[in-house]
Amino acid sequence: MLLKLLFRNAFRHKLRAGLTICGICVAILAFGLLRTVVSAWYAGVDASSSTRLVTRNAISLIFPLPLSYKDKIRGVEGVKIVSLGNWFGGIYIEEKNFFANFAVDSKTYLDLYPEFVIPPDQKLSFLKERKGCVVGSKLANRFGWKLGDTIVLRGTIFPGKWEFILRAIYKGRDKTIDESQFFFHWDYLNETMKKILPRRADQVGFYMIGMSSPDIAASTSKSVDSLFKNSFAETLTETEKAFQTSFIALSQTILTVIQLVSLVVIVIILAVVANTMAMSVRERMNEYAVFKTLGFGGFYLSILILGESLLITAIGCAIGIIATFPAADAFARAVGDFFPIFNISLRTLYLDMLAALIVGVVAAIFPIWRAISVPIASGLGRAG
């Protein structure tokens, strides 16, 4: 019976309830999307392995390291695999078709990245083909590439038109893996550079190190860097996670702003729901006085008001969450190239619900306090 009353109270003013629910729904939607943008940003970091280290030039990422470091790094204790690569920065037809493309030491690189799943026959034919390349399935779909296709990238860092033959398509082991990258053989890059620009041959953008255990990351990084101390190209070695984070740090301010905005959205909707509840309860002061007269205590009033507030926010939240999925899809389609991984995480959904719960409870506190504290006689005085 109290439940029935609670339901009917919530929808007594259909327009008001509807608008409030609408507001919550939009707020939850906005909150969910903003959170998803943030997690998309961090997706690369989360997907990175903790057994991988990245060694780069200590001065800056844009300065290369000599190829000769490879063997020296391999000698360090705890190092299992050493791979290397360069950010190629090639452009496919137009600049707006941006995607990440790297020249890597293919064999070792694929060993380091078991999360890139490639059918064995494709892997073999990629390794055998000098101009071969491997791309993520999302990227292949985006441009309609098929195995055997020739893909031409225009170099920006490395001059010229570069021709590749698509030999393999990888899939991510799970949804957190970026399926929109492009890799080709570092040897192909280096041999070509030897011919056209010998000065820039044998230069490595970064070394990728596979360790035997994540626990030795700190000591291994230190030993690697100390190897090249006081050389003409000092190194900085950090975990892949830290490396990715330093990329992200550039956009940290934007992320902070987005997170702030998502909080502001929640605060605004809190104000809206609180206002709705305060209005409803003020109108019904006389009814609550009757309840108290009949002997219903603060417990019952709290249940009635809190329940009503939670009911409204729960409905708004549910619709908002349901709407987040198609909205995120549309969003991903619009800007997907910048966010290779754009999934609504379970965490975001929990945060949605938590936000709605907090809004529902906080919005009810003041009205409950009012309803309980108003003396019965003056509450009844509002009759008529």
Partner: protein
């Protein structure tokens, strides 16, 4: 037999700003079990205040109110709430039904606080609604009922818990003559047939005539209705 309500030296004042206004002064009053008492007096004389004190809705400054042997001025807020739900039936001038509940549900409301089963509650509600002749209006919402019908639902709500006494503050104040007549007849029957103790505040001498006892309140002091002031009030 001991009186059901026994009031001794009751004083009540309200604070307005820094001055306090004495509303009730040294009131003493006994009400016998089964009495139908009409409380009259000019506006602002403190009738509602006295009724609220007797019904345990407000606290007096000094004095005692004993109802069926219990001094309610000593009860805590929450004990008082429980006491009201068991001992007092309320009838208000503006009916005060819950608009989103049907007649049936409105009458059922006070039974939520008892530990009756759903089936028992239904029996009680049906009996109460039969008593006020509204058995054909159980599923109507208050806005679908006339003022008189709403007040009858309120009466059913007041008697459904079988309280020690019923308090009514100007129950006919908002009704036309015919509806008022009907409501008064019902209250009379509650008194004569079931023997309920009723305390009714009213401005209406016709209503007061239905009662078998009358008190007159003027400027916070109680008097037995003198014929002179009674007719003045008319």
């Amino acid at each position: 037999m001991a009186p059901i309500v026994e009031i001794k030296d009751l004083t009540k004042s309200y604070r307005r700003g820094n001055q306090s206004i004495i509303v009730l002064e040294n009131i003493s009053l006994s009400i016998e079990d089964g009495d139908f008492l009409a409380l009259m007096g000019p506006s602002g004389s403190g009738k509602s205040t006295l009724l609220n004190l007797i019904a345990g809705l407000d606290k007096a400054d000094s004095g005692s109110i004993k109802v069926a042997g219990i001094d309610i001025s000593l009860l805590s807020e929450s004990m008082l709430a429980k006491w009201r739900s068991e001992n007092v039936g309320f009838i208000f001038q503006f009916y005060n039904l819950v608009p989103v509940l049907t007649a049936f549900e409105n009458v059922e409301l006070p039974l939520i606080l008892t530990n009756l089963s759903k089936k028992e509650r239904k029996e009680h509600v049906t009996t109460a609604l039969n008593l006020v002749n509204l058995e054909d209006r159980v599923d109507h919402y208050p806005r679908q009922l006339s003022g008189g019908q709403q007040q009858r639902v309120a009466i059913a709500r007041a008697v459904v818990t079988d309280p020690t006494m019923i308090v009514a503050d100007e129950p006919t104040g908002d009704l036309d003559r015919a509806s008022a007549e009907e409501v008064l007849r019902l209250m009379e029957r509650l008194s004569s047939d079931i023997g309920k103790t009723i305390i009714m505040v009213t401005h209406d001498p016709r209503a007061a005539k239905k009662a078998n006892n009358m008190k007159y309140l003027e400027k916070g002091v109680l008097a037995n209705a003198p014929e002179a002031s009674f007719s003045e009030c008319l």
